[in-house]
Symmetry: C2
Subunit: 274 residues, 2 copies
Amino acid sequence: MRYFVAVAEELHFGRAAQRLAIAQPPLSRAVQKLERRLGVVLLHRGARAITLTEAGAVLLREARTALDAVEAAERRTRRAAADQPGVVLATKAGASSGLLSKLLHAYAAEPGAAAVEVVLCGPGQPENLLRDGRADVALLHRPYDTTAGFDTEDLHTERQVVVLPAGHPLADRAHVPLAEVADLANLPLPRWPGRDGSYPDGPGPQVRDHTQLFQLIALGLACAVVPESLRTQLRNDHAVVPVPDAPTVTTVIAWPPHSRSKAVADLVHTATRL
Amino acid sequence: MRYFVAVAEELHFGRAAQRLAIAQPPLSRAVQKLERRLGVVLLHRGARAITLTEAGAVLLREARTALDAVEAAERRTRRAAADQPGVVLATKAGASSGLLSKLLHAYAAEPGAAAVEVVLCGPGQPENLLRDGRADVALLHRPYDTTAGFDTEDLHTERQVVVLPAGHPLADRAHVPLAEVADLANLPLPRWPGRDGSYPDGPGPQVRDHTQLFQLIALGLACAVVPESLRTQLRNDHAVVPVPDAPTVTTVIAWPPHSRSKAVADLVHTATRL
DNA sequence: GGCGGCGATACCGCACGGGTATTGGTGGTG
DNA sequence: CACCACCAATACCCGTGCGGTATCGCCGCC
């Protein structure tokens, strides 16, 4: 299955084999064998290009979650056997920092609190960490992050604001509709990487984190619609205007289903009591 | 991992090997190898009995979901390639029959509706079918069924009633508190099988489905607290009394996260519009 | 002290996964 | 139009690993 996922992602046997650090012929045979075992054609082998069949697309999605599940099983078992188990909490760098610090302090004050290791990562990463067992619990932000497959508890809902370079014509307005923000030709919205790390096409600059984003905005090269709690991270060369019709953002605490860990349960309980 | 799960469930190498249809020595070696690979002791080998370590218990739980995930991947791929894909809907036999028939009729009237195959199974089974890919969507009942790990949409909430033999002293009451029902010494509550198919200890009779249950009640051998919609299935030799303080039961439609099937989405949409 | 149950070890054979060399088929190109 | 470049499939070989049988070692029990 790992082999098939590699081929399905690369759409090229040679590159997939390279990525898997094996030769190309064994890879061809392995995929053929999988197809025989399932009794299903997974790939259309065109002369010049490879494409997924419908069944292949289904398997790609299902196999990813299956592979994540076995990775998670290994990792969680290892960590359960470690001397001091602790809890790994993942969240996007720079997001919900106020809520996070309150949570950590409140939990640390609980009797029997475990050690909490905080992992700050890029956008889209916390879900992956949670899915493959590198993290036990995460702070996510709907609707930006996908919470499918996790148990969640809502913590906080907030409105969004547009961040502009200081002195921009719109900066004095009391509020701006979303459509107007999207139409600012010389201040395009940035492009965030997708789950696979590649960027969508478009006019805006590519960004990886909020630091980059805010620097680009200060330079007058972009603008962005972000949750209002991020204004604590802005400097004087930014202006902020509410966008009432942008979707509200809800911070949620998420954990893998079937989690039986007392530490995770306590952490969630503490978070909902904030 | 399959091997380890078998050993962990049987707590006996010999029986586990038999269940896996292999000899015992390869099984011993495979588990040892897994322990070496993870760097973790999974089993305490006592002289007479085997017990799980803490890490072993974690792996048992995680490995089950991982194995279900790969089974689901295979099954869903096969079904995606079948001539007429269709949707498999699982639910407990006898539960929510009115809602189910309404749903099936409403969905069949939709343009582009796929064929729906209904699987009626015992209590606790629909979750398993959904998890391992034998079903695409299920009707579950909170809090009886566990919905952890699925996406769900609430459909209907109802109160519970106690079902008694006709002519029972309590049958004329307008309502009965839960505590009083649990105290009926000669009418014990029945025992349902757990996820693994074994029954908990206790005084009540073992039951597998509602037909059995209602027959036992009519015979004066048990009573039961059930959602009020089940009264449509009762006959004259039953009496029904509301139990106001029993938890309400919510019928939900559940599907695996990341489900991209149009048919499942349509079915869910139809269900919420009922 | 001997016996029985059970998991671990020893040893063997085959099948499968991986490697190299090569073929075959299909577009692009001078 | 022929030649070339590219890429997946096939042919063939080798080593590892998994499964099988036979046996041992350990512990509890009659």
